[in-house]
């Protein structure tokens, strides 16, 4: 009799342990690190409740200029998946040790379509002679077709990690890509009304947007909160003489003084937020829809 009792106790314990183990596996969330908000948003939509998505760059920093410290790298190393924008976005990539097998370069699929930046910084040293550190335009997601490809890369990585989530991820991908293609079609329609409409941009971050939607865009290098020096304004006048833009696109609402001074030149300010970091309100889709509306207004001006 005692034997039987011990045996049944053992069986009960084993059953409890295995049940606990099973639920622990089911509850273990994927830990995903994303190097910018668009990727974090894609991951959140695709992985839904099965993942915790971390955007390690602080909220007040543009992730493109953020550099992880040893602690942040340590945290990334422990993640299940590290989503990178690629296209030279993660300037810190060469300075840190990350597991390659967990790292996904989401723009690798259209690497041959990257926009190279001319006038890149050139320097020389040693007998090797001069060389240039060429730059690549990195706001790849503002071409919503490219964004859809990046979303697909995220989905593929998720499925590779958790094959059992395949149907759910693919369903979510379809809905996300429908949203992105909605934005894509909308901007195409807006731009088609007035092709070659001259536009100014305050910051050189709209290269892919301009290419995809055929925008006639010229860029200065201004910060929304910083009054540009007089020299810049003279340069702008020269540019406007041959490129009569009525709108300047801004990453964020410019200071009133700047907007007023621009307005006096007949240039209205419109926000087209690349949304590289998590917005204070709304999400990627909400911000992009607002951007599209702002662009529509600019084209009606």
């Amino acid at each position: 009799m005692p034997t039987f009792r011990i045996l049944s106790l053992v069986i009960a314990l084993v059953a409890a342990a295995s049940a606990g183990g099973a639920s622990a596996i089911g509850e273990h969330k994927l830990e995903i690190v994303a190097s910018n908000y668009p990727l974090a948003y894609f991951a959140e939509r695709l992985a839904g409740p099965w993942a915790t998505v971390i955007l390690p760059a602080p909220a007040d920093v543009d992730p493109a200029y953020w550099r992880p410290d040893a602690k942040a790298v340590g945290a990334m190393q422990k993640a299940d998946l590290i989503l990178l924008n690629g296209a030279d976005y993660e300037k810190w990539r060469a300075h840190v040790a990350l597991p390659r097998l967990k790292t996904v370069d989401t723009s690798a699929g259209f690497r041959d379509r990257f926009i190279r930046i001319e006038n890149a910084v050139v320097h020389s040293h040693g007998p090797a002679g001069q060389h240039s550190h060429e730059g690549i335009a990195y706001t790849t997601w503002l071409d919503f077709d490219q964004a859809a490809q990046q979303a697909e890369a995220v989905a593929k990585a998720l499925i590779a990690k958790r094959p059992e989530l395949k149907t759910a991820v693919l369903d979510a991908l379809r809905s996300l890509q429908a949203d992105l293609s909605g934005l894509d079609g909308e901007i195409k329609r807006i731009a088609a009304v007035k092709p070659n409409l001259p536009l100014m941009a305050s910051h050189p971050v709209y290269q892919y947007l301009a290419r995809r939607y055929g925008l006639n865009l010229k860029s200065v290098h201004w910060e929304p909160g910083e009054m540009p020096p007089e020299k810049e304004w003279t340069e702008l006048d020269k540019t406007l003489a041959g490129h009569p833009a009525k709108t300047m696109l801004w990453e964020a609402r410019p200071a009133a003084a700047i907007a007023d001074k621009l307005g006096a030149k007949g240039v209205a300010s419109a926000v087209f937020d690349p949304c590289a970091n998590r917005p204070e309100a709304g999400d990627f889709l909400v911000i992009m829809k607002q951007n599209v509306e702002n662009l529509r207004t600019s084209f009606q001006r």
Partner: protein
């Protein structure tokens, strides 16, 4: 019976030197073949386990043995390098995960191994102290290296220039020890690990240098005015990577062309492994794919053949040694003629002498056995080191 042993013991103690020599000779004769087998077993276990855990290996076409010894056991001979794109090529097939390894340099006599972070997961290496490398210039020490060099997290370690004749520009880099790995009982215990990118910095493919002109650069302006940062030929590159100068470190050229020693390929399943091996059948390609287990088995067969030869010789030596011991006893009986006679005169039977002799031999055998066990016991922890030493160099 007790008296026999008592008398034998007194006798042995009286003739200390003779006893000592006999015990030492016998114990060493027994310890030698046993120890040799211990070393061979350790070598076999150590090599087979490592090779079994490493399904496929890609490296420069040539000696499969050199490739295996270099990439798996970090042998001093080194391996001709291949390009990083080999790892990308394996990844692109989707059949296997690539683990690039760069085992070209040594630091303080220990192999300096450039890996990606995945390597630690793959080998199950976890830091016993500190953390894995995070930033360029970080390194993590194998358990034995840490002990030998007396270093731990927070210490630094200078990478000596690997090759005095290398004009391409390897320069000593101060490595920051971020952690010490838990003992793995594998070649990993003897290695210093850095991230591949750090290994390339040591190689001179990447570097950091001070801005020599206070040019008005706009680092965040891809469209900003072209700025030329001129640096004279005598420019000093940094020899230590600090948070302050980290940003100035950069690589030249395409990382896909950077050197590595080998790629461990981890196929997702048996079918993928077969398909992947098919990709490497071309004799003209500069790289080849091998199965480390096959190579190691071939190597071990040779070693065991040598071991068997040794056994044969040792058997002969043992036989001779026993004859010599028998001779010693026979001679000592001669010398002890008077003593034996005294025993008879005291009224003991002939058998008593035999019993005394038997007790003596038994005591000597016991002592020799104890010494032999002690020798083997103290040598046991070094068996794998010895195996490593004899097999790899």
């Amino acid at each position: 019976m007790r008296h026999d042993f008592y008398l034998a013991w007194r006798y042995l103690r009286h003739h200390r030197t003779r006893t000592l020599i006999l015990v030492l000779c016998l114990s060493l004769i027994a310890a030698l073949p046993l120890g040799l087998h211990r070393v061979l077993d350790a070598g076999e276990y150590w090599m087979t386990r490592r090779a079994e855990a490493t399904p496929l290996l890609v490296g420069a076409r040539g000696s499969a043995v050199d490739l295996t010894l270099g990439a798996l056991y970090f042998s001093e001979a080194g391996v001709p390098s291949i390009r990083m794109q080999e790892a990308d090529r394996i990844a692109a097939t989707g059949w296997a995960d690539p683990l690039p390894i760069y085992a070209r340099y040594r630091v303080q006599g220990q192999p300096l191994i450039g890996v990606t972070l995945d390597y630690f997961d793959f080998r199950g290496l976890v830091p016993a102290q500190g953390e894995l490398p995070a930033i360029l210039g970080d390194c993590v020490l194998g358990a034995d290296v840490a002990e030998r060099l007396g270093l731990g997290p927070g210490d630094t370690l200078a990478s000596s220039s690997g090759n005095a004749f290398d004009l391409a520009g390897t320069y000593p880099l101060k490595l920051h020890v971020t952690g010490v790995l838990a003992k793995a009982h594998s070649p990993d215990d003897h290695a210093v690990f850095v991230d591949l990118q750090t290994a390339w910095i040591i190689e001179g493919l990447g570097h950091g240098h001070a801005e020599t002109q206070a040019a008005p650069t706009q680092p965040d302006s891809p469209f900003g005015a072209a700025t030329v940062r001129r640096a004279d030929a005598g420019l000093l590159t940094y020899t230590e990577i600090t948070p302050e100068n980290l940003g100035s470190f950069h690589f030249h050229g395409d990382p896909a062309t950077y050197p590595i020693s080998a790629v461990i390929a981890l196929p997702h399943d048996a079918r993928s492994a077969t398909l992947l091996r098919g990709r490497y059948l071309d004799d003209k390609s500069a790289t080849e794919m091998i199965r480390p287990l096959d190579v190691t088995r071939g190597l071990l067969e040779n070693i065991f053949r040598v071991g068997a030869l040794f056994d044969g010789i040792l058997l002969l030596v043992v036989a001779i040694a026993f004859l010599l011991v028998a001779l010693v006893f026979a001679l000592s009986l001669r010398l002890r003629q008077r003593e034996i006679e005294t025993i008879y005169l005291l009224g003991c039977a002939r058998l008593a002498v035999m019993r005394l002799l038997f007790a003596e031999i038994l005591l000597i055998a016991l002592l020799a056995g104890a010494v032999c066990a002690a020798v083997l016991y103290t040598a046991a922890p070094h068996a794998s080191d010895l195996a490593r030493h004899f097999i790899l160099s």
